[in-house]
């Protein structure tokens, strides 16, 4: 029986090894979760971009923007809604994004920037538009981009 360690030593050493392994595994998990997020990354790849149109959702942001033929867009107003149906994304060359901390894109859709209005719908120099976005806790700014320029709206002071 000589040469064998007592059970108390086995348990103590086992626990120490387990805690060390746990620390190393946990450190590995943490590092992989805190990788910097590329702001240019496609929003469709963002796991938070799971909001779908054609459903009534609790909360929402009503964003009123103005597009100009030869000027950057303006964000006229942002209001919260009690419930909403999101604006579906189009193939258009305009884009509206909800940005979080460090310019992380939390949500993004494209929209049409055709300045056609009236009956018959004919080209106009400026056009107001309403877009509905989801309410996201981490939202910091709204970013609107058109071929004529871009603008931001701060949601947090």
């Amino acid at each position: 029986m000589k040469g064998r360690l007592g059970i108390q030593f086995h348990i103590a050493i086992g626990l120490l090894v387990a805690l060390l392994a746990a620390f190393l595994i946990n450190a590995g998990i943490t590092t992989s979760q805190e990788l910097p997020i590329d702001p240019q990354k496609s929003p469709t790849q963002n796991p938070m971009n799971t909001f779908e149109p054609y459903r009534t959702l609790p909360g929402g942001l009503l964003v009123k923007i103005k597009l100009y033929r030869s000027l950057p867009p303006e964000i006229l107003a942002v209001n919260t809604l009690q419930e909403s149906r999101l604006t579906p994304g189009f193939d258009g060359d305009g884009k509206i994004e909800i940005l979080g901390r460090d310019a992380q894109i939390l949500y993004s859709i494209n929209f049409s920037t055709e300045l056609l209005k009236g009956e018959p719908p004919l080209p106009v120099d400026e056009l107001s538009m309403l877009l509905i976005l989801p309410l996201i806790d981490q939202a910091q700014r709204i970013h609107v981009i058109t071929p004529e320029g871009e603008t931001y709206f701060e949601l947090k002071e």
Binding site: G14, L15, Y54, R55, L62, G118, E119, M129, L135, K156
Partner: protein, 295 residues
Amino acid sequence: MNEPWWERPVCILCDYGLVILALMVVLGVGLWRLSMPEPLGPPVLPTVSPTLVSTLPTLSTPVVEEPTQTSVASTNPAPTITPTAQKPEFILVFIPVRWQSSMSKFREEARKQADLFITESQMDLYFEIKVAILDEGLSRADLSNSDLELDVEEYGIINFPGDRYIGITDGDLVLNGNSTIAGWTTFNGAGIIAESGSIVITAHELGHTFGLCDEYSYPIWLEQDAFSPNGCPNPYPASCPKDQDEFVHCNGEPTTDGRNSIMGPAGMPGEYGYNDSCKDHLLKKFLLLSGQGLE
């Protein structure tokens, strides 16, 4: 028999030590993560600042929701792509705008306008369509306000979230001094303003919101074609004159069974329908929007 009391468990450890160690590692990871003070990921920040963003009030507007009628198979060729059973919901919201007659007349008007669009577009093949008819609306609206369709849309968004907002008035709409106008919208928008009396107005304006162009005047069609990123999906009828003024010179391309084109002028005798190129575009659009064309 002389072995000490602890020898048997130690032997078990010798034999199954690795398994026990693995279990302890799992337990250790769990305990370590539980003891972390804050979950990983970005911190949860307070919601939108009330100093910058106000909450719009919701009116307790009585709403009548009605089931839609199923579209009847038309003489047009059937769509080549078969829609699946899972259909998203699409809500058409009808809002009275300076409505003077009775609410029952408003409901009847809204119902007729909705039915023409649903039946002719066959949208119900791709969406579960709901029609919401509001009993309250924009009672003091200025019928000559060129942003009236936007006011209708905003009112609807706040009071009854939907996917298209159709304001109907029994008054006389005036756009840029033109009182012959019976309705308008924006291309790919969600808000419409239309006069009552002709059931084709809503279907015509809804056509614009899905990208269809006017077929009643060549220069107008040409301009819409130039400003649409992919051009007009419905061609200007080859049989129509190509006059260079913006008056009505063309009745539009009729449907295969000879009815008037919805994207042509209003007020013609006889029934209306979407012609083949309009219907083809709408079905492709619905397929895409409903997510059934993304596979």
